[in-house]
Subunit: 256 residues, 2 copies
């Protein structure tokens, strides 16, 4: 089986940056980094010992893999513009079907990292779950071998299940982060510091690392403590949106 | 200043257990552990080299501090039943005023650990923020010194601010945990494993350890990606409650 060694990275955002680092650490070659904004392609290419490209026409045809780490809407559109002759094209999105690449190449796949990334924060890639999928067996094997070089957690997941996983990820990541934000806003202006809440946030996440969330649910709603819930609604004052959130989440917890 | 050395622990639940461990590790004496259920008082007393008590009348009058780690509703009621002659009585609740102990003693206080506890999980107490309050200066000093023996994070917080902090804690802990629960339920039955989401949960919490949640908010709502949000609502199917939660939290994120 041929191995994937030479990669073109399309995109220079959070995902491209973090997967790029992981590839480099695993000894793979990033032939080019494409982004139409020169500063972005240059900045990431430098970090990856790669070559920045700002014109789609300048993308090489010599890579083993073209990785599209761009916004969901752009994947299909950009892929069509790259001059490809049946090479392996892969995107990194959680919620876009593999078939968005159908017109671009008959060899297509998905490499979806189930993680939240920032450019400024390096994560140990070995711990990132990678969900992979490919349009044929041989490419799937290659993609599995590639993902296995950067992570111990590689899962074969089809497009439909990947979409469910992405929905679950919104509840596991984006919504908890918004809850942290409300917590921060609640204490803003009281002289209390968000730092006081950080050990609690860390422990709440740590608790579900070895148990299910249902087993460690605590709080006034879990205890069905109407008195405290009424006190909390009063403290939320005029903020109808947060009061409604408080009420509906508490109602659901009481049903658990 | 007299130091607090001898403590009676009223309660044998999650908070009593974890604070009890912290006191023991700091070399303090737990004279007695009171709980009306013999197994509970015995089990905790054993762990703390203490004496179990199941009758309120058997509680000693020789302690420096009586710590009420019982349910919010029970604090005032139980405190009144203990035969006290002006000793220092302290509760551990986030949302109950210090004055609930007014009838029990003129020396009263609060020692509120801003953390989520389980009996089966030991937490490094040095990292727990303790919010303290007392009805007179001397007792406040004693309580501060006591809390300082088990944690580096001791804050003087009055009853009103403590209630705000407790509300914030619901958003920082109880509600994120319920979001994890929804995530788990979403993938249940699909063959996907909650373990796949754990690195994401851990990283989401880790991200706000050194930055504010507003800076790291990601996801379809943050990108105002209507297409993906519509897809997610469709995937949530018949679950109107979760669809409403998805919609209202996403709406708030879009307003950020």
């Amino acid at each position: 089986m041929d191995e994937i060694n030479n990669i073109v990275l399309i995109g220079a955002g959070n995902v491209a940056t973090n997967i790029g680092y992981a590839f480099r650490e695993a000894g793979l070659n990033i032939l080019q980094v494409y982004n139409r904004t020169p500063q972005l392609s240059q900045s990431l290419a430098e970090k990856l010992d790669s070559v920045p490209v700002t014109e789609i026409d300048s993308i090489t045809t010599n890579a083993d893999l073209y990785l599209f780490a761009v916004s969901d809407d752009a994947i299909g559109r950009v892929a069509l513009k790259v001059m490809l002759q049946g090479q392996f094209v892969v995107h990194t999105s959680g919620s876009v079907s593999m078939d968005v690449l159908k017109q671009a190449s008959e060899r297509r796949g998905v490499l979806y990292p189930l993680q939240t990334f920032s450019k400024s924060r390096r994560i140990d890639p070995g711990n990132i779950p990678f969900c992979i999928e490919a349009s044929n067996e041989l490419d799937l094997k290659q993609l599995k071998s590639l993902a296995g070089k950067i992570s111990n957690k590689v899962f074969l997941i089809d497009s439909e299940k990947r979409k469910v996983l992405h929905l679950a990820a919104v509840f596991a990541c984006n919504f908890p982060n918004y809850m942290y934000y409300i917590a921060e806003r609640i204490i803003t202006g009281t002289g209390l510091d968000f730092d006081m809440l950080r050990p609690l946030i860390a422990e709440t996440a740590a608790k579900v690392m070895d148990t299910g969330p249902a087993h460690v649910q605590t709080g006034p709603a879990r205890r069905k403590d109407e008195k405290i819930m009424a006190q909390h609604l009063k403290l939320l004052g005029e903020n109808e949106a947060w009061k409604n959130l408080y009420k509906s989440i508490s109602n659901e917890i009481m049903k658990m």
